[in-house]
């Protein structure tokens, strides 16, 4: 869970992504001084360096006070397409032009496009094998359960997904898992789901409908807990992390998890209850955030999207391992599994 990809160029302030295609077409990234700052961080690759490198570079520029400020609170840099041929841009990047115009109200042929890194993709998440089967902490398949897509950690991406590689998750593993699940369901018409899983599902349904759905008035709105948890995780385990920041974030998150119990739901209807859905999502979010922070705290090295200021080097000797966080009762436990290297051993990253 600790490997979270930041996309370097999300539009300010809406957070909508400005595709890498812009930089592939030759767009520059510039700081407040009009300087192409990537020369300091990736002199050969420049703007085309991998996402984690570019995101860190932008964060560094902001730290050094060379970024622009949006309403005094959000630091950003400029994406410059003014030197590109307008007719080619219109042909190749029509979505960019439209998005920038609608959401930032800017003409990118005469102004810089305001961009900053935004959370984009989770490399980890649900522990699965190569067939998309969900595994328990001991590596056994949880019968009848598959996961595919961003939510599954099939380990195609390692610590750092490359652009467009998520397509393989839906196109390849979506198919593998989907076909396997259909086959399994056909072959096991009755009793396809083990008894204890059925019991968990029923328990969960009871919890949702009777505990969450029957709150009285008063209490805290879910949106407040959600935005507070976003701030906690971004501050504690954002683009840069260290032992202190992650430990503090864990403590803050535990407080929010306690607040979660006092969230109020005004809508008690059973039809299209957005509020209930948001609260259920928030519950999952808080737990995922805990797993993320715990993994980030324990991993004393830097690898791919996980960058620890206090351990800036990759440490293959100790950390060529997957973190597997699971829940035992109410506690979260981190276990580790070695990474199987089949084809290409990891090399030094140089740009």
């Amino acid at each position: 869970m600790e490997f979270v990809q930041w996309h370097p160029t999300a539009l300010i302030p809406s957070g909508i992504l400005i595709s890498e295609a812009a930089r592939a077409e030759g767009a520059y990234l510039v700081n407040r001084e009009g300087e192409r700052f990537m020369k300091r961080y990736a002199p050969q690759q420049m703007e085309l360096a991998p996402r984690d490198v570019v995101s860190r570079a932008i964060a560094m520029e902001c730290k050094a006070g060379r970024g622009f400020m949006w309403k005094g609170k959000l630091c950003y840099v400029g994406l410059d397409i003014r030197h590109l041929d307008p007719s080619r841009v219109k042909e190749r990047l029509p979505l960019l032009l439209e998005t920038v115009k609608t959401y930032a109200g800017i003409d990118p042929f005469s102004e810089l496009i305001p961009v900053a890194p935004a959370v984009h993709y989770f490399m980890g998440v649900i522990h699965t094998d190569l067939h998309g089967r969900v595994l328990d902490p001991y590596g056994n398949w949880i019968k009848g359960l598959w996961a595919a897509g961003e939510v599954a950690a099939v380990s195609v991406h390692g610590a750092n997904r490359l652009g467009s590689n998520s397509l393989s998750e839906c196109a390849v593993w979506g198919r593998i898992a989907g076909e396997a699940a259909a086959k399994y369901a056909l072959e096991n018409r009755s009793g396809a789901v083990e008894e204890y899983i059925r019991a968990i599902a029923e328990e969960e349904e009871r919890r949702i409908l009777y505990v969450l759905g029957r709150r009285e008035t008063g209490g805290i709105p879910a949106a407040h807990v959600k935005s507070a948890s976003q701030k906690v995780v971004t501050k504690g385990a954002g683009i840069f992390r260290n032992a202190e920041s992650t430990a503090e974030a864990i403590a803050e998150l535990v407080k929010l998890m306690n607040n979660f119990r006092n969230i109020n739901i005004n809508d008690t209807s059973r039809i299209y209850n957005m509020e209930l859905r948001e609260v259920i999502e928030l519950d999952g979010m808080l737990q995922a955030a805990y797993a993320l922070l715990l993994g980030a705290y324990l991993r004393t090295e830097s690898r791919g999207a996980h960058y620890r200021i206090d351990y800036p080097k990759r440490d293959d000797k100790h950390w060529l391992r997957h973190t597997i966080v699971y829940k035992y009762g109410d506690s979260f436990i981190a276990a580790y599994q070695p990474v199987k290297i089949e084809g290409w051993p990891p090399e030094m990253r140089q740009y």
Binding site: A222, N266, D267
Partner: protein
């Protein structure tokens, strides 16, 4: 900027109009205004959205009588501070602005 936003609501077989007053910059989209209403004023209003960038189409509603995508329509472009939001169609309303599509 102050906006008076009226939402045509439907729940449990009853239809009614509810009005909210919000403070928001004119660059706020109709979708963000609805989200603000949910978060700060009334968590029971239901509507659909997903991509928030004019790609998926599920946030379609009628604003001041015109069918639009809530996420690409800005309050300041509507030419009025009084905004009336209703479902995209009159048939098959599931709840509030959510229709069976």
């Amino acid at each position: 900027m102050k906006y008076k936003i009226s939402v045509r609501r439907f729940r449990d077989g009853v239809q009614f109009v509810q009005t909210y007053i919000i403070e928001a910059p004119p660059t706020t989209t109709v979708l963000d205004a609805l989200i603000n209403i949910r978060e700060d004023l009334d968590g029971t209003v239901a509507f659909r959205y997903a991509c928030r960038m004019g790609v998926c189409g599920v946030c379609a509603v009628k604003v001041n009588g015109r069918p639009v995508l809530a996420c690409t329509t800005k309050l300041g472009d509507l030419g009025s501070h009084e905004i009336y939001i209703e479902p995209i169609q009159d048939k098959n309303i599931i709840k509030d602005l959510v229709v069976d599509i």
